[in-house]
Symmetry: C2
Subunit: 325 residues, 2 copies
DNA sequence: CTGAAAGCGCTTACAG
DNA sequence: CTGAAAGCGCTTACAG
């Protein structure tokens, strides 16, 4: 199918060894400049491109980093993270490939790709991690859950996000908290811990349990939730994320409830639309750039043989205060 | 590093040939059930997983489909497309891998991955396409531009999107059109044709040239654009996409201009936040599901040896009318 | 019904 | 300074 190094060798009148030495710039060899040029020219002329597959088989590894996303709708936050990660790793000659958590099982994928490193933005099964490590693949993980602290993985605490939302609302003098989740089943992994954090926040502040509502991203669905909160005397809503929070704003508007006078609303993520909402939405931002840089750093450290994670980044969570609270 | 088929053969007391036949269910072989079980058990017991790299070298191809995204911020629209594509292709045993157009050059990537098919959501250089095809890789492309019709690629007309925006605004009795672009350089490939379409629409309707403003996704920046439009007597704004349109709504609000009474606004994409905006945003939707299904179909057809694209999908563009127009 | 052998394209000790 | 040879792990004609 393709031009091989043997073809180049023949065209240049040398052995494949020499071709390999020249093309890879192998140090410690002393190839005459004339030979070098002959090989380079021949390769150029006959359009040679080395087979990455054969090289991978021989070397036992590739220069690929496989990023595995969770099986849910990713947002602009993750896009930004991926961009930064790709830029940072390119500097080390690594290419980033993304798997969206859809389609065939992960186990087939990493075997097919044999990446140098797998970066998980989702939790992996422990046996999956073992299998990957056994195959010589570095695994850099982030966890959805901060319940069990595993020092080999980096994770932003989803619970803490929920606690921060409540703390901010309490600071604003609110006393009856509602929580807005989503009907999207795929989000349950993230939503669970965040709600848990909201519960913890309420408990810490001596407030009653949050009034939980799950809604679709429509004004109708949100209006219904708004009625439930209203009946329960809710004066502040913590939303699973900004998209849900925007729906909450629409629902409250529809019900004639004023934000923040009647009900305060806070989201998570700080997506662009949040600053543009009516009223502009308060939210918890996650410093994606910092997290991406950290993941890149951890990946590179693992490459260099580090067995421990680099020191974790400084605080990446912050409340962005706007007019909705 | 790994368990090989030779290990399985040894453990089961058979040859590697037999192991391969059993594990791949090669048809036309007649392996005794006892032997089969022995091989299966041995493989299971010693934790054998075939090397996809070696298989790829031997077979000359993989079961991977590489999707190459353009070098710009992807939105929920593309996420949805990728999800559908992954689902549809998984049914054919293909895994989808995504490259975000960042980091190392594409040419290195496809060589390293040796996918069966490369699906481009961005335009490729012609020589790149030739190189991929020479390496035995199917190339399914979409084009950003509908200027030159190449029957081997599928593309939604970006110009037509702009024309549809204007046609709708004209239908609503608007006569002075503004266009809202973005300051994000990366979007110029898409934005150019859409603006061109808006220009065509204005010309067709006998209106003056659109008043073009480029803005960042902030209320401040949008407010400034709103002032410019106001001075020019603009009574309707076509935005590059919904995110920009949301900024436009915020800017007009800030300037005390009412939507749609004073100025009508229409976006592109129909992202979830659009239906939740104040007022709910009219937009042009792109039927991403239909497009994803078409791409999957084209990919599979190419796999089956088709040399032409399947018949293009029915109309995928539609105006979603809400309260902003 | 099962095995020995070749070969996919590369890299790298090892000789010369 | 350069080449012949082995080997990465697999699949598949070809023998038996």
């Amino acid at each position: 199918m393709g031009v091989t190094s043997a073809d180049v060798a023949r065209a240049a009148g040398v052995s494949r060894t020499t071709v390999s030495y020249v093309l890879n710039g192998t140090p410690g060899t002393a190839i005459s400049e004339a030979t070098r040029q002959r090989v380079l020219d021949a390769a150029e002329r006959i359009g040679y491109a080395p087979s990455a597959t054969a090289r991978a088989l021989r070397r036992g590894t590739t220069d690929l980093v496989l990023v595995v996303l969770p099986h849910w709708p990713i947002g602009p936050v993750i896009d930004t993270l991926l961009d930064h990660l790709a830029d940072d790793l390119a500097a080390r000659g690594l290419s980033v490939l993304v798997h969206h958590g859809r389609g065939r099982p992960l186990s087939e994928l990493w075997r097919a790709v044999t990446p140098r490193t797998v970066v998980g933005l989702t939790a992996f099964a422990p046996e999956e991690v073992r299998a990957m490590r056994r195959a010589g693949i570095q695994v850099v993980g982030t966890r959805l859950d901060d319940e069990h602290h595993d020092p080999s993985v980096y994770a932003v605490s989803q619970r803490r996000i929920g606690r921060m939302q409540v703390a901010h609302l309490v600071e604003r003098g609110r006393t009856r908290i509602g929580w807005a989740g989503t009907t999207d089943e795929r989000l349950v992994d993230f939503a669970g811990p965040r709600l848990e954090g909201v519960r913890q926040g309420c408990a810490t502040a001596g407030l009653a349990e949050p009034v939980v509502a799950r809604l679709a991203l429509t004004a109708d669905s949100a209006a219904q939730a708004a009625r439930e909160w209203h009946e329960a005397g809710v004066d502040a809503v913590a939303a699973y994320n900004d998209e849900v929070a925007l729906a909450v704003l629409a629902g409250l508007r529809r019900e004639g409830l004023r934000v923040p006078e009647g009900v305060a609303v806070i989201g998570v993520d700080d997506i662009p639309a949040s600053a543009l909402a009516e009223p502009p939405l308060s939210t918890v931002s996650q410093s994606i750039e910092v997290q991406a840089a950290y993941l890149a750093q951890a990946t590179i450290a693992a490459l260099d043989g580090a067995t421990e994670l680099p020191p974790q980044p400084p605080d990446v969570l912050a409340v962005v205060v706007r007019e909705s609270t």
